[in-house]
Subunit: 458 residues, 2 copies
């Protein structure tokens, strides 16, 4: 009896040994391929320089859809298709102006502003008004209608630089950008200027979506560079009656037709179990959308390409999904989940990369405890590649709508320190991306997909 | 008895609780100060743009010494002084030429080359010779004198991109640069061209030190950009009789006087126990020496400045040391240890930052097991700041000579992915440094110094 159980133990251990060593070897093969012959950077260079920025509904977005389809077609995935989706179509229009007028301190001076996505414009005659600076919605409410009525509200609470995780700092400040316009409008403000969501002293502004509350008057909303936010705040201290001139020409047009772009490699054993790797194809209308989120798109495509290049035939079906319209509507992610539900597709897991192409550090997870334990059980295989952080909750905006269908959600988690230097700005360009960091991200996602494909999540 | 031991346990635990919480608070204070009011980036900007590159013996090095002294003087450290040291004085001289002549494939074409530091020059008439490409010293030896005599040897083994730690990749290739000239000269070669120590396809070359072996004829040694290394290799395949023209004007002058720059805050309790935080002040004569190693210098200064700003009075004496001549002689590090020995100074520990100003990940250590255990016992306090890697052996080139005096050695360990894109090149400039990543490095070093200062290493 003792002898038998020893034998069983021995056999299990050696089988484990073989499996582990094969996993180890295959994961090394994935990383070697990515680091020696990876195409993530070349793809991203292409997308950034040939297409450039690509806000939903824009010609750039249409070009990006074609870029995605052609790129995946060229790699010869089993099938590549476009999934139609109607998207919001917001346009910035001509040159925007934000001008301090006749300040006692600095005279008249143009400041660096940038309309927030989805904002209405001021129209060609602009808005001229006094400015009231606040740091929070509470402070705004304390001022009350009598102090806010007819003014431009200047939300100037900085992101908290002491947060080590910059996404936490973003989370603590972004309500000003998202909801500030409606909060101010409730008290009669005529426009809002929001301090850019950046951690440094920067000369350029960060755009990003504004969310108008239903039944509240819509007023123009612009971001101001952190440098000029500091300047404006300083000037306002001595000159409360300062006049500010704002002129923006943005507007929302009719919804436009667009597409999610999907590439697929069919599973050999469990073809009905789908693993999604994804990023979003749209970007804001400044810069090149390199880190946000060209990086995620090329990493998703690269997972399938690496497998193909290595001759690895997945047991499960793997899809690269490039969602349209993450930035100002999430219509792509919603449409994808809607179709998945309609077709009764079984999405085992969805992974999104939407935190930039920086050095990988781990994955965030949303789902059952048993799913999380399963993923964490692979830590010993992933730690040699500096994937050490499996502790955070999270997934991705576009894959969120799959959650209610029972799909486990995973977010690729790279280093966060530089992300908010580029996010939603003219600076989010290909030269800010390091090739090795980007390719390592692709390899990290591929390694995880390989393990899920091989062992499932049960 | 039971009651008593319970009481003792309770008291120890609560004391531990207090100490831990104070440590935690003080470490948070350090990080908050660095992230909100850190001066590392401003200092580095100054050094890079006002001084620029600063090879030992150059006017830039002299300016950097004054920069270091003034910077620390201005911060009001207890004392700031210069420690004299004689350094090698190598100069590059006028424009260098590396030219393929009359290749069947590409005709005549100038390639991007850069003399290795310490190399002799070809003289104004240059060297014209055939080129023989090899990947290793073994391959070179197999060719033997008959194939090498009179030729230029082209060492073209790339850094191994599959190593996740790029310093391991560097370690596996750098012998070609350091020792290639002498190995080739032993077989009668007239010069060497060495593939740049870079991981990417780059248009610029990486310099770095060549070490001539004693009693072996010295021959000119240049680096070639990775892009042109690939081109030269391709051309050589079809055209073995290719002629290459090399013209360099570098030379070694007489040793020159220079200095280590030292700033000190005196300990209040154990002033004879010295903690060194350091980087090296010299750089190669291209770029601005931003990551290598301006970053280390400003981080060392910043540790003392942060303590001063916070009003933290160290129990032990803390010195910021900016070593001269790490790149081509290590004379500064040797001199510092020599003086320490002569004065019988007790250096408890020396920390060096010389791996760039990137996101921190931990510390390397060289010393006794009990020292390493002590440092690792603080991991719970440091992990919230993403310091997780305490496993690697190492210290720093400049602090190495303190090792034999019984000093424990620590190397600051940041993310390594981007380092070799800039190392020893024209690209190592301030715009490649991220402010947050740099300041986080200073805070990480300060947090560790704080713990060592408070608890010692026993």
């Amino acid at each position: 009896m003792k002898k038998l159980s020893f034998l069983v133990l021995f056999l299990s251990l050696s089988r484990l040994g073989v499996a582990q060593s094969t996993d180890k070897d295959l994961i090394k093969e994935i990383y070697d391929a990515a680091l020696q012959n990876g195409k993530s950077y070349a793809m991203l260079h292409d997308l950034c320089t040939k297409v450039g920025h690509r806000l939903s509904g824009s010609p750039g977005a249409a070009a990006a859809v074609e870029w995605g389809r052609h790129t995946m077609d060229d790699y010869g995935f089993d099938s590549v298709w476009l999934q139609p989706v109607m998207v919001p179509h917001w346009v910035r229009g001509q040159q925007e102006v934000g001008r301090v007028i006749n300040s006692k301190k600095i005279g008249s001076k143009d400041l660096t502003i940038l309309s927030l996505g989805g904002s209405i414009g001021t129209g060609p005659s602009g808005i001229t008004a006094n400015v009231i600076e606040v740091k929070s919605f509470d402070e705004l409410k304390q001022h009350g209608q009598k102090n806010v009525q007819g003014k431009i509200v200047f939300f100037n609470r900085p992101m908290d630089a002491t947060k080590i995780n910059t996404f936490a700092a973003y989370g603590g400040a972004v309500e000003q950008r998202a909801n500030g316009a409606s909060e101010a409008a409730k008290l009669g403000a005529v426009a809002v200027i929001v301090r850019s969501m950046g951690l440094n002293n920067e000369s350029y502004a960060h755009t990003g979506g504004v969310r108008y509350a239903p039944m509240v008057k819509q007023i123009p909303a612009v971001a101001i560079s952190t440098q000029h936010a500091d300047l404006l705040s300083k000037v306002l201290k001595d000159d409360r009656d300062l006049q500010f001139y704002l002129e923006t020409h943005c507007e929302s047009l009719e919804d436009a037709p667009s597409f999610n772009v999907i590439g697929e490699v069919k599973g050999s054993e469990y073809k009905d179990e789908i693993i999604v790797v994804s990023g979003h194809l749209d970007s804001w209308d400044v810069g090149q959308g390199a880190h946000d989120d060209g990086a995620g798109c090329v990493q998703a495509i690269e997972v399938l390409r690496l497998f193909k290049m290595m001759g690895y035939k997945p047991k499960r079906t793997i899809r690269a999904v490039l969602y349209m319209n993450e930035e100002n509507g999430l219509r792509g992610g919603q449409k994808y989940a809607e179709v998945a539900k309609l077709k009764k597709e079984n999405h085992l897991v969805a992974i999104e990369s939407d935190r930039g192409g920086f050095t990988p550090r781990g994955f965030t997870m949303t789902g059952t405890e048993s799913f999380k334990s399963k993923i964490r059980s692979w830590k010993p295989l992933l730690e040699p590649y500096d994937l050490w952080d499996f502790s955070q909750e999270g997934g991705g905006a576009d894959i969120g709508p799959l959650g209610p269908l029972g799909t486990a959600l995973i977010g690729f988690l790279p280093d966060s320190q530089r992300y908010f230097s580029y996010h939603h700005t003219q600076e989010d360009t290909i030269d800010k991306v390091d090739k090795r960091e980007l390719e390592l991200g692709s390899a990290s996602m591929a390694a995880l997909v390989f393990l899920i494909d091989r062992y499932g999540l049960k």
